[in-house]
């Protein structure tokens, strides 16, 4: 377990869980949506590591889908 700066982990977890709470969406539902979205996207492009998340943007809760295409290979360096 990572000690030392555990509050950063807590902050990330809280921000995520509160976004789901406020939007009244169970996180599992977003998981299912991610799988569905990926399935559709892959019919058209090779898509790799994707993230679909609920995020707090000021007063708004938004659904963020980040789907890097596999060509060229994802470097993982792109922010969000």
């Amino acid at each position: 377990m990572k000690r030392g700066r555990s509050k950063e982990t807590l902050k990330d977890r809280l921000e995520l869980v509160l976004a789901y709470d406020r939007a009244q969406i169970p996180p599992g539902k977003v998981d299912a949506l991610r799988n569905d979205l990926l399935e559709v996207v892959r019919r058209y492009f090779p898509a790799g590591n994707s993230s679909v998340e609920i995020e707090q943007r000021g007063d708004m809760v938004v659904l963020m889908a980040n789907i890097p295409l596999d060509e060229p290979p994802a470097t993982g360096g792109r922010a969000r």
């Binding site: 030392g4 509050k7 902050k11 809280l14 509160l18």
Partner: protein, 266 residues
């Protein structure tokens, strides 16, 4: 805060609502206000023991609501602080004995007939009817939160419900903060909590064994000399509009800060 009627709440139990109510109530009275603290936790009353007034309870809130006694008979005057009164909850009834509208009327009487300048309502834990009744007459709220995951999450939920109930002035009381853990990055700081919840703190109370001693003997900490007592006193001053700076708790990871910590400096 402009609100005369303030509910003290948290969602989660055990974070220090009752201690906060007792101490801020006593502090405001010490600062010259005429204060009534009301325990709305029907069936699980505790404000009386935390304040050390349990032996003087004869009538309670439900008796007043049902017209079984006069308000003046149920109000217990705290002899240690001038102008501090407790309206205890009923220990034998259940929460259905409290009707929000009737409760609103009682609180209105306290302000308009009995001349109280501040009413603090100690809410039960949870988000059900007891909380809703407690919040019904409130114009403002103190949301007590501990710097840990479940308390912060529940505070967020309570803040949403308070906003839905048109409680306009909402402030946080961050309780049981451990400055050393904040300094080492293992506890949320005041700034982190403000960031996450979007509600401003009005008080930061450090974890303090003195609080246990003061509740053991039934004397609000603001009447003695403890770190937490001082922090509650400062909170009450801010509540009255004074600009009281916070002691420095923020994380400071530099070498000098480490030295300062080592030698017991602030």
């Amino acid at each position: 805060m402009n609100a005369k009627v303030i509910v003290v709440t948290s969602g989660k139990g055990g974070v220090g609502k009752t201690t906060t109510t007792a101490n801020i109530g006593a502090a405001l009275a010490k600062l010259g206000e005429k204060v009534a603290v009301i325990d709305v936790d029907v069936g699980l009353r505790n404000l009386d023991v935390v304040m050390g007034l349990e032996s003087r309870v004869v009538f309670d809130l439900v008796d007043v609501l049902e017209g079984k006694c006069r308000m003046s008979q149920a109000l217990i005057r705290d002899k240690r602080v001038e102008n501090l009164y407790l309206l205890p909850a009923s220990q034998t009834r259940d929460k259905d004995a409290l009707d929000p509208e009737v409760f609103k009327g009682v609180v209105r009487d306290l302000v308009e007939q009995e001349g109280f300048s501040r009413i603090l309502i100690d809410s039960p834990a949870g988000i059900e009817s007891g909380f809703k009744t407690a919040a019904a007459p409130a114009e403002g709220a103190l949301v007590v939160v501990n710097p840990e995951v479940s308390s912060v999450r529940d505070a967020d939920r309570i803040i949403g419900l308070l906003e839905a109930q048109q409680v306009s002035e909402i402030r946080l009381v961050i309780n049981r903060l451990r400055p050393k853990m904040v300094a080492s990055g293992n506890m949320l700081s005041e700034a982190d909590i403000l960031d996450i919840l979007g509600v401003k703190p009005i008080g930061i109370i450090p974890e303090d064994e003195g609080i246990i001693v003061s509740t053991n003997v039934g004397e609000p900490a603001v009447l003695g000399k403890t770190k937490a007592g001082e922090a509650f006193m400062a909170t009450a001053r801010r509540l009255k509009g004074e600009d009281v700076p916070y002691p420095k708790f923020e994380e400071d990871r530099g070498f000098l800060a480490a030295l300062r910590r080592l030698f017991g400096g602030a």
